[in-house]
Symmetry: C2
Subunit: 386 residues, 2 copies
C-alpha cells in the first residue's frame, strides 16, 4: 500500500426531507448566494423549498451555470459576491453547479488581477488562505463534487481541474427524492460517470490496497445491481439512494487512498466533450472498453480480478475472463441506453488526429497510472473506440 | 436505506516514516501534553521520535494510562492541562490512550464541579463548546478511536461510552511500522475487535445499504486474508498496513451510516471485562458465535448473506450456511490464538447470574438492533457461550 493522506471534512446530510435543516446548517447571519443551473430546480420547486428553509436570511440568486461550467459565466457570480458582501454560497444542482460554485468561491477570494490564472497556476490557488464557505443541495448523483475539494472548469485554456481544501463543502444535503424528476438520460450518464470514477482508481495494477479494492468492487457491484432499475423506476427510493451514495463514495478520496490511479479515460473524454459536445458520461462509456483492449497487458492482473470479483466470471483462462469482462461492461452501459462506440456519436476516423493534437496541446502526453499512455497510445485507443 | 448524517474531519496521515510531519501538524506555538500508556512507547523509541519531531515546542508528558482507562487516572492529566496551560494533546498509543485523551480534553474544558458526571449526563457534554485539540500517533490497530468522536471510560459508574464531535482528532498518524513490536496477543485482539466492530454494523437485518454491506464484507474478507499472516510475520508491511486501515475504517462511521446497528456483543463483553478481567477482544470472540446461535432467526437473512459473501458458502440450505459461517468464524478466531468459550477463561455457569445482574444495573435490558435482547436473552447467550 502506498503512503497516503486522507482528509474530508464535509458533513453529509443524507435522506428524505432533510431540506428543512438548512436553517441550522447555514449560519444565521449569512448573506447567501444560491447558485443553480438551468430551470429545473425552479420548475420542480426545489429552489422555492431552499428559500423557505433559509428563513429571513439575505438571499441572492445566480442561475444559468451551464454543463461544463465556463469561467466567463462564473465571473458574473463573483461580481455579485464582491458587490453584495456574500459570505455563503449554496449550490443547488449537480456537478456543474457545484464545481462552478467552488470556482466562484476561490475567485472571489483571489487578490490577483486575472482569476483565470487560477486554472493554470497551482501556486496561485495555494496562496488563497480563506475562501467563501460552500454548502450544497444535490439534485444529480454523478460527480462526487458534493464531498470533495475539486472542480473542473472550462475556459480559453480548455477544460481543466482545480483543487483546494478550502472548497470542501461545509455540508451537502443528499436527498434522493430530489433526483426523482431527472431525465433518464442524465441518470444513465451519472451511473456511468460513477462507474468510471471507480475503475480509474481500481483497474490499475495490484498495490495491496485490499480494502480499497473491495470498496471499489462494492460500488461497481451496487451500480450493476441498481443501475437499470433506478432508470426505469426513478421513484424506487432505495435503488436511487444507493446510486446517490455510490456517486459520493466513488470520488470522495477514500477508494483512491494508497493505491495507483489512472484517469486516462477522463482526460481523453474531456477532449471529446470539448470538441464534439458529447456528454461527459458518454465519452467515458465509449472510451473505457477501448482503453482496456489496448492496455490489456498493463492492467492484466486487475482486469482478471475485476472479471472474477465484479462479474463473477470464474471459467476460462485469463484472456477469456478479460474479454468477457470488457463485453459485460459494454453491455451494462448499453443496457442503460448509452452507446459505446465513437462512431455512434458521428465521429469518424479522420477526426481522430484532431483529438490527438488537442491532447498534445494540453500536455496530455504521458497519461495513466504508469505515465506510458503516449499520444500514440491515445491514438490507438481512439481508433479502437470507433 | 435509513436517513443518516456523516461527518468526520480527522486528517489521516498514513504510511511509513510520517512522524517527521508532526512538526507541520501541531501548531508551532502549542503547549503540548503527550499522553501514553505503559512503557512500550518509551522502550521502542516512539516517544523519543515524537519529542524530536515536536522541535522546540513546550512539551509535557503523562504516562500510565491503563487499558480500560480510568477516570481517576485521567483527572491527573486534567490537572496538568489546567495548571500548565496545555493547548494540544498528543496521544501516542492504542485505543485506551486515545480514548483517555479524549476524556482529558473534554474534562479540561468542563466548567462543572465533577467531571465524572460527563459520563452519565449527555447534556453536560453537549454544553461544552470548545475542547483542547487532539492529535494521535497510533501504535495499536483495533479501536478506530483515531478517526472517531467516541471514547469508553471506566469509573465508579462502570465502563461507559462518551461522544462529542469536539474530540475528533485533528490528525492521526498511522504508521504500520510502529505496530511491528506489538505482542502477538495484542495484534490478535485487535483483529477480533475490528472484526466485531464490523459485524455489529452489518449482521443485523437487511436495510438496502448495499454499499455499506459491501464495505463491511470487504473489511471482514481482508481480515480473514491477512489476520494470521500479520500475527506470524509482523514485519510484512502490506499485511499490517491492511490491518491498520481496516481497524480505522471499521469504526469511523462509514459502514454504519444508514443501516441498523447491534452492539449487543460489546455491551455484554464490557461486563465480562469489568467482572473477570478478560481482554476486550477475547470477550467479543467468545460471545459472537453464541449470539448468532441464539439470535439466528432475528438475523437469518444477514447471516445467510454473511455466509455466502464473506465465507463463500454456496452449498446447502440456509441453516447449513449459517451453521458453517458460525463455525468458520469461531475457527478464524481460534486460528489467531484466541479461545472462544467462556469456560476457557475459567468462568462457570454459576457466575452467569452475576453478569446478568450487572447488565440490569447498567440498564442493558433491551439490547440489539431491534431492542429485544432482554436480560433473559442475554442469559441464554451467556449459557450458550460456556
Amino acid at each position: 500500500m502506498f503512503n497516503f493522506d486522507f482528509y474530508n471534512p464535509t458533513q453529509i446530510v443524507f435522506g428524505k426531507e432533510r431540506m428543512g435543516e438548512l436553517d441550522k446548517l447555514v449560519p444565521e447571519d449569512a448573506k447567501v448566494l444560491i447558485t443553480y443551473g438551468g430551470g429545473s430546480v425552479k420548475k420542480f420547486g426545489t429552489l422555492q423549498k431552499v428559500r423557505e428553509s433559509l428563513g429571513n436570511r439575505t438571499v441572492f440568486e445566480f442561475g444559468g451555470i451551464e454543463p461544463n461550467p465556463r469561467y466567463e459565466t462564473l465571473m458574473k457570480a463573483v461580481e455579485i459576491v464582491k458587490s453584495e458582501g456574500v459570505d455563503f454560497l449554496l449550490a443547488v444542482g449537480g456537478g456543474s453547479v457545484m464545481d462552478g460554485t467552488k470556482f466562484i468561491s476561490l475567485a472571489s477570494s483571489y487578490r490577483g488581477d486575472d482569476a483565470q490564472e487560477l486554472l493554470i497556476d497551482r501556486r496561485k490557488v495555494m496562496k488563497i488562505s480563506k475562501a467563501v464557505s460552500i454548502g450544497t443541495v444535490v439534485t444529480l448523483p454523478a460527480t462526487g463534487s458534493e464531498m470533495n475539494s475539486g472542480a473542473v472548469i472550462t475556459s480559453s485554456y480548455g477544460k481543466l481541474p482545480i483543487f483546494s481544501p478550502l472548497v470542501f463543502p461545509k455540508f451537502s444535503i443528499l436527498d434522493p427524492t430530489l433526483t426523482f424528476t431527472l431525465p433518464k438520460a442524465q441518470v444513465a450518464n451519472g451511473i456511468v460517470d460513477t462507474f468510471i470514477h471507480t475503475v480509474e482508481q481500481y483497474v490499475t495494477y495490484p498495490a495491496e490496497g485490499r480494502l480499497q479494492d473491495r470498496m471499489a468492487e462494492g460500488i461497481l457491484q451496487t451500480l450493476i445491481e441498481i443501475g437499470k432499475k433506478t432508470i426505469e423506476d426513478p421513484e424506487d427510493y432505495d435503488a436511487r439512494a444507493n446510486l446517490v451514495w455510490c456517486a459520493t463514495m466513488g470520488l470522495n478520496g477514500l477508494i483512491g487512498s494508497g493505491v495507483p490511479q489512472d484517469w486516462t479515460t477522463h482526460m481523453i473524454g474531456h477532449e471529446l466533450t470539448a470538441m464534439f459536445g458529447i456528454d461527459h458520461g458518454k465519452t467515458l462509456a465509449l472510451l473505457q472498453p477501448a482503453i482496456w483492449e489496448v492496455r490489456r497487458e498493463n492492467k492484466r492482473e486487475k482486469l482478471v480480478q475485476y472479471a472474477q470479483r465484479v462479474w463473477d466470471i470464474k471459467e476460462g483462462d485469463d484472456d477469456f475472463k478479460i474479454d468477457s469482462a470488457i463485453e459485460k461492461t459494454r453491455g451494462f452501459f448499453e443496457s442503460l441506453g448509452i452507446k459505446t462506440r465513437l462512431s455512434d456519436y458521428g465521429v469518424t476516423e479522420e477526426k481522430i488526429e484532431n483529438v490527438v493534437k488537442a491532447l498534445e496541446s494540453h500536455g496530455m502526453t504521458a497519461l495513466s497510472e504508469t505515465n506510458d499512455v503516449t499520444l500514440d497510445v491515445s491514438r490507438e485507443i481512439l481508433k479502437m473506440a470507433l
